[in-house]
Symmetry: C2
Subunit: 340 residues, 2 copies
DNA sequence: TTGTATGCGTTATCAA
DNA sequence: TTGATAACGCATACAA
């Protein structure tokens, strides 16, 4: 049995190189400038020989920078979350940071545990993409000095930056597009708007904007896990007499559920308009394609990391909000009326 | 400015409770049994008051169990990877383990860095879902005693368990289904089969099985990023005279690319059969739906964690292989021939 | 049952 | 420019 070959320690490297461990430490702590040429060479070669790599545990214990960024995701199976995550990752790579991702799977207990885990690993910043109401944990984390970035969510009374979609502008773009394509009444379908989340913002803007445009508006608040509700609402909405109808889906999950229900009911997409917030892999594969508002996920991820890095240096600034505009991708699900 | 309130240490708790830090340590190290009733009470209440939580860094430094499992993913945007990850996560939760996920985004350098990061955090096991050929790093990790589980991939000469799809059975099921539905020739489309990966297994079985069945077989090896190749191959395959044609897609990414190309070319899905390995969110939303072989992702994830835990105790056993059968979900893309 | 003392690998403080 | 030494927070062998 090959006994576990311990990883080389800084002491062993120092010994091998014939120098003190302090010097080796300096070499790896970004103080190479202060070392003589010979010293550097001896250290590199010794480290090379022993395959030395600094132990982040010991580093973290001392309180130095960890180079670690945490990300908390509420639902890893949501493609939008994954897209954002990808953006965050790219940004981290460019910044020379490591990213540690935890998924809470929408379980508050799990979320709390993950938060504890991340914070205990001395992360230098946390990107939160979770809808839960774990305010306490986040608060304490923020107060402990960890830079915080909230995605798609605002949290009052906490020193955290916020990055996400300009929900008001997005809803406006959606409604303008629907009107332009000749739809005369709109049903907005959303998951339950939790406190202070972007769902709330979208819903409110929808209602306000429809009122302003004098556009007949309906709203359905439902879970995606209960397709019955959606089918029921669609049936009623479709049956009702009135101008040309369209559905506005508050996010990708809803879009998927709606398309499924529309299929079940045998309704004709396009005739009944469908517009979804969030672009999905398959929006161009259905027949007709689904019109969407695509969020600039890479830019959002990058902005999140930028926020964290700014906080690390000048931390006194008040919380900021970075809002991004979506891009409209028009497809067959919102077609002009047929000239009959 | 509210100065960062350091996290409470074990020493402070001991002080607050009027006991020694050893006792507090015992309390949190699973030796509560050995403490007196009074002792326990004092410790809990003190810890409660100070909001104490053990510092895993310091713990890890000492060499104790970390309760951490790492997972290395090659492409987080692959829905199949996410599905597996979800299964792994559930299993971790049940086992009381924490999961730390790293995505290499198919970048070998990144992959190497992630591996170093994970190993340095004293993970108790690593689940690898990456196609790269970072054998050296994995080898050294395995030899250092860290239990390893390979997903969808075998690696010779390394002490690692393997969990994944029974590729041979899957290909057999696919071909049997296609034949049964009246298809007489098959085009297999796959990404480049890297060494020892499951792609290789599927490809080989496809060719062997088609030969055995005397089924006319074609093969296209392509990247999903170059749809031209797929379109070209589809056009040719469709144009060629012969029995009823079908496409077998080696994985979800290929399925998506194929459906897209089929649409571009204006071919009729179903008339030209399409069967994909891996179930996708939207397979029932296209018209017609896509027939797939769904992998039991939750079971696979659970098996991976089971392997790790077994290794932790009895480590002497030879590497094992856990293979799972897929479930066929028949949809319109593989329909019986029309009676004309 | 409880406490004391030492070491884990690193960085920071100080002295040389 | 370099090196000795004391923390960091915790677990553990050992003593009481």
């Amino acid at each position: 049995m090959p006994q576990p070959p311990r990883r080389a320690t800084i002491l062993e490297v120092a010994h091998e190189a014939g120098v003190s461990k302090t010097s080796v430490s300096r070499y790896y702590s970004g103080e190479r400038e202060r070392l003589s040429e010979t010293m550097r060479e001896r250290i590199v070669s010794a480290a090379e020989r022993l395959g030395y790599q600094p132990n982040p545990m010991a580093r973290g214990l001392k309180g130095g920078p960890s180079g670690l960024v945490g990300m908390l995701v509420a639902d890893i199976r949501n493609p939008f979350s994954v897209a954002i995550m990808h953006g965050v990752e790219q940004a981290c790579r460019q910044a020379g940071l490591s990213l540690m991702v935890c998924n809470s799977d929408n379980d508050p207990n799990q979320e709390k545990a993950q938060l504890a885990l991340l914070s205990s690993y001395r992360i230098e910043g946390l990107v939160v993409n979770a809808a839960g109401r774990h305010s306490e944990a986040l608060h304490s984390l923020a107060q402990s000095g960890t830079p915080l970035v909230l995605l798609d969510r605002t949290l009052s009374d906490v020193n955290a930056d916020q990055v996400g979609l300009d929900n008001a502008a997005a809803v406006d773009m959606a409604l303008d597009h629907l009107v332009e394509r000749g739809y005369g009444r709109v049903l907005f379908i959303t998951e339950p708007p939790s406190l202070a989340s972007s769902r709330q913002a979208r819903l409110e803007r929808f209602q306000a904007r429809c009122a302003a445009l004098k556009l007949p508006a309906n709203t359905l608040i439902t879970e995606v896990t209960t397709p019955r509700h959606i089918e029921q609402a669609l049936k009623e909405f479709h049956r009702t007499r009135g101008p040309r109808p369209a559905i506005l889906c508050a996010n990708g999950q809803i879009t998927q559920a709606v398309i499924r229900s529309v299929k079940v009911l045998g309704l004709a997409v396009g005739e009944i308009g469908v517009l979804g917030i969030d672009e999905l892999d398959w929006c161009d594969l259905t027949d007709p394609g689904i019109t969407t508002l695509a969020q600039p996920t890479d830019a959002i991820g990058k902005a999140a990391i930028d926020c964290l890095r700014q906080r690390q240096t000048g931390s006194g600034d008040p919380p900021r909000s970075h809002l991004f505009l979506p891009r409209l991708i028009a497809r067959g699900s919102t077609q002009p009326p047929l000239l009959a």
